[in-house]
Symmetry: C2
Subunit: 394 residues, 2 copies
């Protein structure tokens, strides 16, 4: 096992009607003016934004608003948010939405608290030294950004999608009311579930020796998400299933599932970032479409790990050889993805990609990652092309 740090300072307020506490929770943060940041969809739809504003009014908290965040959130809106916050002397950002809104809020928070171009952080040119405090009211179980240190932003020009992680951006609090996710379209729900699974799997598939407690917690999360994702296919309003998945979404990505195992693999995420940068697909669906092809390309390099995954996470009966067991595990996960109507290749994802576009994505991915990605197996540009091609031709 490896030494590790674990830091999850975000206060979670979980359950029914918890968004009513938002005013009181922000008041405890002693701020002067709040930016409420949101997207085009869920925040306004069911009166959520009005309920939040009422709670802020009750607590006598001043606020302004900035909507318009899109999936794969754009740098242009981040710049707009930074200007607005500076003009209005905002000192606290409340993100109302899913991962895209929260990631956009984090980027704005860096930009307001610091001098210099915020894109430099995402471009790997410098480290952040300050960040405005943020909080979230979560409306989609998926990204885990409500408890994580990460943010992913897309530069409008060229569709360049880059992530930046820093503990400074971990939210002060996050309000998790599973009821707020009940009205999501089925495809968004399923994509979110794929994303949650992947946040655990990216950490699970490590070449390092790990800790039994971390592995068993990771397997618990995978099994709980799969079981409840299938319940939601048939019964989308099931509160208990929504709650199990929402809490698993935060635990998947707050660091818990990686303790002692090193930094994880993250190759599937890197490959998907280029995909959704170019084609604007839903992140979780893109991950589901890529994962099996990554897994079949790398599993021999960490065979005992894939064997354990097959047996303990996927419930596979061990086959004659470790290799056969591992392959049955990969197949079982792909079958699971299909059972919740997630794609397992690029065609099912609805993406028609040319050979030139695959080369371009691999080149961009290689540049973004300074040459290689992955830990289970180190992948260079030629490997990336092979995996994209397998996902295309499957």
């Amino acid at each position: 096992m490896q030494n590790f740090n674990y830091f999850t300072p975000t206060k979670i307020v979980f359950g029914k009607d918890t968004e009513q506490q938002v005013g009181e929770l922000i008041k405890a943060q002693h701020c002067n003016k709040v930016l409420i940041h949101y997207g085009n969809q869920s925040a306004k739809k069911f009166g959520l934004l009005d309920r939040i504003k009422a709670s802020l009014d009750n607590a006598s908290i001043a606020y302004i608003e900035l909507g318009g965040v899109v999936p794969n959130p754009l740098l242009s809106l981040v710049y707009q948010g930074i200007e607005l916050c500076k003009q209005e002397q905002v000192d606290f950002i409340l993100a109302v939405g899913g991962g895209s809104v929260i990631d956009s809020a984090k980027a704005i928070a860096y930009g307001v608290a610091e001098e210099g171009d915020v894109w430099d952080l995402f471009d790997g040119k410098r480290q952040a030294t300050a960040c405005l405090p943020i909080a979230t009211v979560l409306t989609i179980s998926a990204a885990g950004s409500e408890m994580s240190d990460g943010s992913v932003i897309t530069k409008d020009e060229g569709g360049i999608k880059r992530g930046y992680s820093n503990d400074l951006s971990r939210p002060k609090f996050s309000i998790l009311n599973p009821e707020l996710t009940v009205t999501l379209p089925d495809y968004q729900t399923a994509s979110g579930n794929a994303d949650i699974l992947m946040h655990t799997m990216e950490r699970y598939f490590t070449p390092n020796a790990t800790m039994e407690i971390t592995d068993t917690i990771a397997e618990s999360i995978l099994k709980t998400v799969m079981k409840n994702a299938q319940i939601l296919v048939k019964d989308p309003k099931n509160y208990q299933a929504r709650a199990e998945i929402m809490w698993c979404g935060s635990l998947s990505h707050n660091g818990l599932t990686g303790c002692g195992g090193g930094n994880g693999d993250w190759a599937t995420h890197m490959l998907e970032h280029e995909l959704s940068g170019m084609f604007d697909v839903t992140h979780g669906a893109g991950l589901a479409a890529m994962w099996g092809h990554w897994a079949r390309y790398v599993y021999r390099d960490i065979l005992p790990r894939f064997e354990r995954f097959a047996i303990h996470a996927m419930g596979v009966t061990p086959a004659k050889t470790a290799e056969q067991t591992a392959l049955k595990g990969i197949e079982a996960m792909e079958n699971f993805f299909r059972s919740i109507n997630m794609p397992t290749n690029l065609t099912e994802l609805g993406v028609k990609v040319s050979t030139e576009q695959i080369t371009e994505m691999a080149q961009k991915c290689s540049i973004a990652s300074k040459g290689s990605i992955g830990a289970a197996k180190t992948l260079y540009e030629a490997d990336m092309i092979a995996i994209y091609t397998a996902a295309k031709e499957a």
Copy 2:
């Protein structure tokens, strides 16, 4: 399931040689002067205190010292620490030790930051409004205080042991180096392991509907602790086993194992507090001695829960009836306690208790808890007497 809050702001720095980072970590807290607080045993023994001082010196951090914390830490030393900190203008407390040292540090931290008698908090007379920041270098896996909001202090006069919980006291960071626990006496190691199991079980045995993800994480922790506790009986220097248990100790008591299940039972802890207040026994051993008698007294009230525990945590093959399965689960845990040389009754604990003393403990427990304890089954003074008596006569 219940709504819940989850708040674990403590930064964990885990692994070999991590105590060398203490100077740098405190420096990031921007304090003027540190009190190093410790006990009579492990901190000085193997040069740990010297290594910590060297790290503080390297970071140019001023400090003073206060040793002398004993198991079941005393209010008199807390008062002494408060005076010292005020005189010396200490604004940060570093606890080097186990639960007793950390709990003493928390009590001092409240007392320095607030007006009024700190015992009022423990006596339930008021709530804390401030607390100095504290951090810990952990030397015993047991109490979970390194990540929890709790502190337990014993008033010298009358041996009155009381707990107080408040998020203000959660440590800023905790350094968890499993190597620091290798030299513990076997009895202390085993008592710590019993304490860790109990922190999970107190939350697990709830009358409320729970969450699958919380239950499976709790069961993972119980199984991991039991497996590695038995490894340590034969191989006390096993680093991986020490590490698994150390991390489980923090996860057991930071709130994770109770999410969605309500506030837990805690009757065994309350009964044990009176026991170790009167007889000065090791907390974990006292819990092990009491648990089975509590369990047999209450299991019918939450039978499905004890049945699940038997099967999923203890690996019991289901018997003909749920009741038989539940009893097999209780027996299996008692057998486990015996396998790591922990007591399962008061005689094995080395306590000779009279009928009058049992009555006195039950009365004190009843007063401390304002009449009743427990959630699985509400227990009044007569119930407490019955459980103490069963533990005596077993």
